[in-house]
Symmetry: C2
Subunit: 178 residues, 2 copies
């Protein structure tokens, strides 16, 4: 942050405001505090029969690696709507959300993943603009060594655990471990 | 947003960037896209014996109303750490987190609540700087008409339901309803 988005001044300092207990970007001219907060990454693992749908990333970071459809939650959206939108954008597919399976923290990069399990409506899907390929995988066929993010691996492993147990358990995790 | 935080230009426009599908604040000078995303409000309902701990707000908004200890998640924090920090800041109390009970969407104000149930360590608490009063309540004594936010009411009602059932179910909700 070089300039104040409120007044345009370049006198931004990193200081602890009065009544606060951590450093914030504060404008030396108009006094406004520029808070910065973590982002939610919303997603959904689409399930069809004994298979799950993954997308191969056509964009950086981790271009060419496989992922559970997920992306930044937008203003005005619920987490549920964001998860469904991401499945549509990445796999041209519709899902009926079943349950929230993952709360996964990435505090070093200020991301919080919230991922659902959902039913892939009609088993139908295509390839979204941010994907080079989308495909259904049985558990044995998952390309574990080619997953894009630890959050995807976490969600996939916990999903198959839940399925074996016949449960819909929410799992919490973090990278690095809390 | 009046000025670009990157270059200081006042030529900020609300346009749909190439490859995107929604309006963003884009700088007409340096071209940077200023994304805006929802914030997480992390919290925890502290439980001690048959009672829960609530805090009366000493700050706006909803000054004087009761709340489940909650506040904005900070950069570098996990949701779990944020929830514990808020209990400390609002009630000078420590909690051992038990389970995530609430995912509550407020899309109109771009807030996503994530609230836990936790054990109030030793039954001990004080009054944090943002509270005028903190107190333990049985279900019958909850000041339902004086709750600060619909998220607090939602979490409290679901907590007592869960307790009656002997379950630790995650509940999802929204205001207005999805
Ligand atoms: Zn300023
Ligand atoms: Zn600029």
């Amino acid at each position: 942050m070089n300039f104040c988005s409120n007044c345009g001044s370049n006198t931004i300092g990193l200081i602890v405001p009065q009544g606060d207990n951590r450093e914030r970007y504060v404008c030396g001219n108009c006094g406004i505090i520029h808070y910065q907060n973590p982002n939610i990454v919303a997603g959904c693992l689409p399930v069809w029969e004994d298979k799950v749908l993954l997308c191969r990333r056509a964009i950086e970071p981790r271009l060419g690696f496989w992922n559970v459809p997920s992306g930044y939650l937008e203003n005005g959206e619920s987490v549920e709507d964001g998860a469904k939108r991401e499945v549509w954008e990445e796999a041209a597919a519709k899902v009926e959300l079943d349950y929230l399976i993952t709360l996964y923290n990435l505090p070093k990069i200020n991301q919080i993943y919230l991922q659902f399990v959902g039913e892939l409506v009609g088993g139908a899907f295509g390839v979204g603009e941010e994907s080079s390929e989308c495909a259904l995988f049985t558990e044995k066929a998952i390309p574990w060594e080619e997953m894009a993010f630890t959050s995807s691996t976490f969600t996939l492993r916990r999903y198959f655990e839940n399925r074996r147990l016949g449960k819909k358990i929410l799992h919490r995790g973090a990278y690095p471990d809390l």
